[in-house]
């Protein structure tokens, strides 16, 4: 599904290249559940964002579903992204001005889905996540765990094949964290969604099928569990 070849990423700082990612080579198959680990500043988020097409590499090739991503036009890439990828963040990143319901609905709006169709999908997800009673609340009326649940629900609404999660449990206590991890595992097993998560916790990493360790912008270890 994903093939990264010789990916470099650098920023120019005062005329010098400050390398964040160095010669990353990585293949990811459909249905994998991958945990990326590594010390702070090692380039985990950057790698995730490149995979998620929010960021571009400075050099290298990225093939997603047989398409060379960096060669695509903005429009095509955005289409690819909309069809396949969902994002989950450490800080949840819900839209404060919208209710739970509306937050989950928004990606569907961007997919130009009809109102009735949207209603059905959102209702379905709310039901599945057990948050029907919360649908008219605003994000600041929810606990962290609940917000992250909504964040995942939103990512799932557009039926992605790939979920990218950047420290999804970083702001949660361990019990809430576990619930999220269980949810990921279930999504991966039952729905066949590919998941790539960044985490600091060995325990959370163990939910996955493979652990990639980044160190100083390089893949240090790549262990299949």
């Amino acid at each position: 599904m994903i093939a990264l070849k010789n990916i470099f990423k650098w920023y120019n700082v005062g005329g010098n290249r400050n390398f964040i990612l160095k010669d990353i080579n990585l293949d990811i198959q459909q249905g994998e559940f991958i945990s990326i680990m590594g010390p702070s500043g090692s380039g985990k988020s950057t790698l995730l964002n490149i995979i998620g097409m929010l960021d571009e590499a400075s050099e290298g090739t990225y093939i997603f579903q047989d398409q060379e991503v960096f060669r695509l036009k903005e429009k095509q890439r955005s289409q690819l992204y909309k069809d396949y990828i969902g994002f989950v963040f450490q800080a949840y990143h819900l839209i404060d001005e919208l209710t739970v319901y509306e937050n989950i609905e928004t990606p569907l709006i961007y997919k130009d889905m009809k109102s009735s169709e949207r209603k059905a999908i959102v209702a379905d997800i709310l039901d599945r996540f057990g948050i029907v009673g919360k649908k008219d609340l605003f994000p600041n009326q929810l606990s962290g765990g609940q917000q992250q649940l909504v964040g995942i629900a939103r990512a799932l609404a557009s039926k992605p094949k790939l979920i990218l999660a950047d420290e999804p449990t970083g702001n949660l206590n361990s019990k809430q964290g576990e619930e999220i991890m269980e949810l990921f595992k279930q999504l991966n097993k039952e729905d066949g969604i590919t998941i790539i998560q960044v985490t600091h916790s060995e325990k959370n990493a163990a939910y996955g099928s493979r652990i990639i360790n980044l160190l100083d912008g390089r893949i240090d270890t790549n262990t299949t569990l």
């Binding site: 429009k75 990143h93 404060d96 990606p107 961007y110 990512a155």
Partner: protein, 798 residues
């Protein structure tokens, strides 16, 4: 999608009430001003166009040229001859109407009032489209003793609009004659140059119709109607040819009488629709409301200023506030929004705000129309809006402001990269050069207007308070047509019986001017006043040399004159006393200068003091100047009126105070003063609410920094300074830009006045201080609030 955007837009507005208020109020004011000016301009350009035949109506006007063919002057007026002679002899001219202004005394019961009116030819109603309420438009002016009234006048005279057939007593020669009302006219539209309450048939005596000199007696307006297919140039040529042929005899007679004529007259036609805004041939002499296109330009310019400033607020605040929306933008992109869709969303929000502002503007226009009408001398109303062109103009204005104010922020905001905004790596707007630039532009405009206003105020103050060179206080002027010497004497004796009345002097009515041959053998023009020996002392006019008229020199009454210094200068006399001069119309008689009065402002201060001459020769007086004691005004006026009614029962009584009449000279300035004041207040207000909004957002952005500084021990003063100094610096820069420009503009404007203030540094310093103070107050308000807030709170929220 729309619903989603609308929801978010409305919730955003609800959560940011200050922001919403500032934007809506600012833009609303800007739009309201623009709407008013559009109304104004529409009114200006629609003048006189309501006549069905307006395309073919022209006014006969004259250009004077000297022998070398150089233009020496324009005169929009004509006399008895031009209308009938051109209509009868020049092909292409279908009909004509002459309009002469005048006033007649009207008697109702025992009361006599003086009524302004127009004398017109009987073709009046077939040429102009003034609808009649009652009567027949084809023959209502045929009978020489017919009178046509406006609806209002009919109600005033007879208590009913249907006055046809009723009789009015109108003064003719020495008595009152009955005139029959033949028609009543509906209210004339406000945008008409011809306004009247009463029309009388224009009567031309038989000997006048034969008198060839009437080619050169100029005192009325002549309009002609051209055949629809007539060629304008050909008609004008035809007029000129006919005039030159037909006036030969008159030229001969006049040359014999007064010497060779210096000027040549060129006849032209002015389109009636162009008359209202014409500066070459303005509407005058019975035609009213002459205006200048300049007014439209200046007003439009000011409004553009205001609208621009409001749009700048919009852009600036939207960008500043966007700092708080970067997260939303990032998220939207992450969950699938394209840039286009974000641009659409933000433009949509702008349009929503514009729409609210637009509604507010309509409300404001409704509210302030009376004030504006007063300022602009118009009777505009919102119902004027019901006009396709104007409505489309407003819609365009709305779309344009919405777009202008929205597109820049939309482009900026939608360009943010989610990786930057979602990971808190990004301080959007960094240095905010555009934002700063816009604040500078805004305050430069506001400062410019404030300085302009200050200048106008000072000049106005100067015009109305400058010493005139004579005493115009407690001086009542009472009009009495053809006041004879004996009547004046009687009036004076009777009035002086009252101790509250301290002086009396008769003078000719109106402004007279004539031409005389001075000893240097050249002719010169001057104002020509008929007074008696009491005039100079009564007005406390100072004598520069020689003596005043005196009863002890009987010859004064016949051949002595006083002149002013300007006269002496113009005549280039070294020793003015005993100089002899004779008037243009009377070659044989010599007048002797017996005294020179110091120059005083007998005209408006807007004019340079021109040559003036006084005689005591009995040309008939028209006004009585009466000096009364201060504090006794009511009683004195009462006494004057009673005395007048007793002595002159057949004359209408009216009076004015000289100093009030003098103030009327500056009505235009007074009006502009008000307009400038309003504009300046509005611009500075809108600029300041914008600045306030920015300061709120800046304080919000720097809340963490302020918290840290305070924890580290910064004082409130220090924090306030940190937050304010940036803005104040911008305002200072804008002053640096505005001051020289305003200085240039003010100087240029002041050149219009021969007597003017010195454009000193005080105006600029005080305007500058005012702007800085207002700005400082605006920003420090928010800065203080931020500075005294509890730092623990602000740090915890992060």
């Amino acid at each position: 999608m729309l619903k989603n955007y609308l929801t978010i837009a409305l919730r955003n507005l609800g959560r940011n009430k200050i922001y919403a208020f500032i934007n809506i109020a600012g833009l609303g004011i800007g739009l309201a001003c623009s709407m008013l000016i559009m109304l104004y301009v529409k009114d200006e350009v629609s003048y006189d166009r309501f006549h069905d035949n307006v395309k073919n109506i022209y006014r006969v006007v004259r250009q004077e040229r000297d022998k070398s063919g150089k233009k020496t002057g324009n005169d929009p007026n004509t006399g008895y001859f031009q209308g009938p002679k051109f209509a009868a002899n020049v092909p292409g001219i279908k009909s004509f109407v002459r309009i002469q202004s005048g006033s007649r005394d009207v008697k109702r019961a025992d009361e006599i009032t003086s009524s302004e009116l127009l004398y017109v030819d009987s073709s009046f109603f077939s040429i102009f489209s003034f609808p009649l309420e009652y009567g027949n438009k084809l023959n209502c002016l045929k009978d020489p003793y017919s009178v046509v009234l406006s609806e209002e006048e009919a109600k005033k005279q007879f208590g009913t609009a249907n006055a046809v057939g009723k009789i009015m007593q109108i003064k003719e020669d020495d008595g009152f004659k009955p005139y029959t009302v033949t028609a009543v006219v509906k209210k004339t539209p406000e945008n008409s140059s011809i306004q009247f309450n009463m029309l009388l048939p224009l009567k031309v005596a038989a000997e006048q119709e034969q008198n060839p000199e009437n080619w050169f007696n100029i005192f009325l307006n002549t309009f002609v109607v051209l055949q629809p297919n007539a060629n304008l140039t050909a008609v004008q040529k035809g007029m000129q040819r006919f005039y030159e042929q037909d006036s030969k005899n008159a030229v001969k007679i006049l040359t014999e009488k007064y010497g060779p004529m210096n000027n040549k007259t060129i006849y032209q036609l002015q389109s009636y629709a162009d008359m209202h805004l014409s500066t070459d041939f303005p509407a005058q002499n019975g035609l009213t409301n002459a205006s200048k296109p300049l007014y439209s330009y200046i007003l439009s310019g000011i409004v553009l200023f205001i609208l621009l400033i409001a749009c700048i607020n919009f852009v600036n605040l939207t960008i500043a506030r966007a700092l708080r929306r970067t997260k939303e933008i990032g998220i939207r992109k992450v969950i699938g929004s394209e840039r286009k869709q974000l641009i659409f969303q933000f433009l949509g929000e702008t349009f929503l705000l514009s729409l609210l502002a637009f509604l507010l503007a309509i409300l404001l226009v409704q509210l302030v129309t009376p004030v504006f009408n007063n300022l602009s001398n118009k009777a505009l109303s919102l119902s004027y809006l019901l006009d396709v062109k104007l409505i489309s103009g407003y819609v365009l204005l709305f779309l344009l402001t919405g777009f202008l104010a929205g597109i820049y922020p939309a482009l900026i905001l939608s360009g943010y990269k989610p990786v930057d905004t979602l990971y808190n790596r990004f301080i959007p707007g960094g240095k905010n050069y555009i934002q700063r630039l816009l604040v500078v532009v805004q305050f430069a405009l506001a400062s410019f207007l404030i300085i302009a206003t200050f200048t106008l105020y000072s000049q106005f103050n100067f015009l109305t308070h400058e010493k005139l060179g004579y005493d115009d206080n407690n001086l009542v002027m009472v009009n009495k047509q053809s006041l004879s010497k004996d009547e004046a004497k009687l009036f004076k004796t009777e009035l002086m019986k009252n101790p509250s009345i301290t002086g009396f002097s008769p003078k000719n009515g109106g402004q007279w001017g004539t031409v005389a041959k001075t000893s240097s053998d050249s002719t010169m023009q001057f104002s020509y006043e008929t007074v008696d020996e009491s005039y100079v002392p009564l007005l406390k006019i100072k004598l520069q040399q020689g003596r005043n008229f005196s009863k002890f020199y009987p010859s004064d009454a016949d051949n002595s004159v006083l002149v002013n210094e300007a006269f002496v200068k113009k005549a280039r006399w070294k020793n003015p006393l005993e100089q002899k001069l004779n008037f243009w119309y009377d070659n044989n008689k010599k007048y002797t200068v017996i005294g020179v009065v110091k120059d005083y402002h007998f005209q408006s201060l807007g004019q340079e003091i021109s040559p003036q001459l006084f005689t005591m020769k009995d040309n008939g007086f028209g006004v009585a100047f009466i000096k009364i004691k201060a504090g006794k005004e009511t009683a004195s006026l009462d006494f004057i009126q009673k005395t007048f009614k007793r002595l002159f029962p057949l004359n209408p009584y009216s009076y004015t105070f000289k100093n009030e009449e003098n103030l009327k000279n500056y009505e235009a300035e007074a009006k502009w003063k008000q307009i400038m004041l309003y504009s300046a207040v509005l611009t500075i207000f809108i600029s300041c609410i914008g600045l306030f909004g920015l300061s709120v957002l800046t304080a919000e952005k720097r809340i963490k920094e302020i918290g840290i500084r305070k924890v580290l021990g910064a004082s409130v003063n220090h924090v306030v300074t940190i937050l304010s100094v940036d803005f104040i610096r911008l305002v200072a820069i804008s002053l640096v830009i505005a001051v020289p420009l305003a200085w240039l503009a003010a100087n240029k404007w002041l050149q219009n006045y021969p007597y003017r203030i010195n454009l000193g540094w005080e105006i600029f310093v005080s305007a500058g201080l005012l702007v800085i103070l207002i700005a400082l107050f605006t920003v420090s308000f928010q800065a203080v609030k931020a500075a005294i807030a509890n730092p623990v709170k602000s740090l915890r929220t992060e």
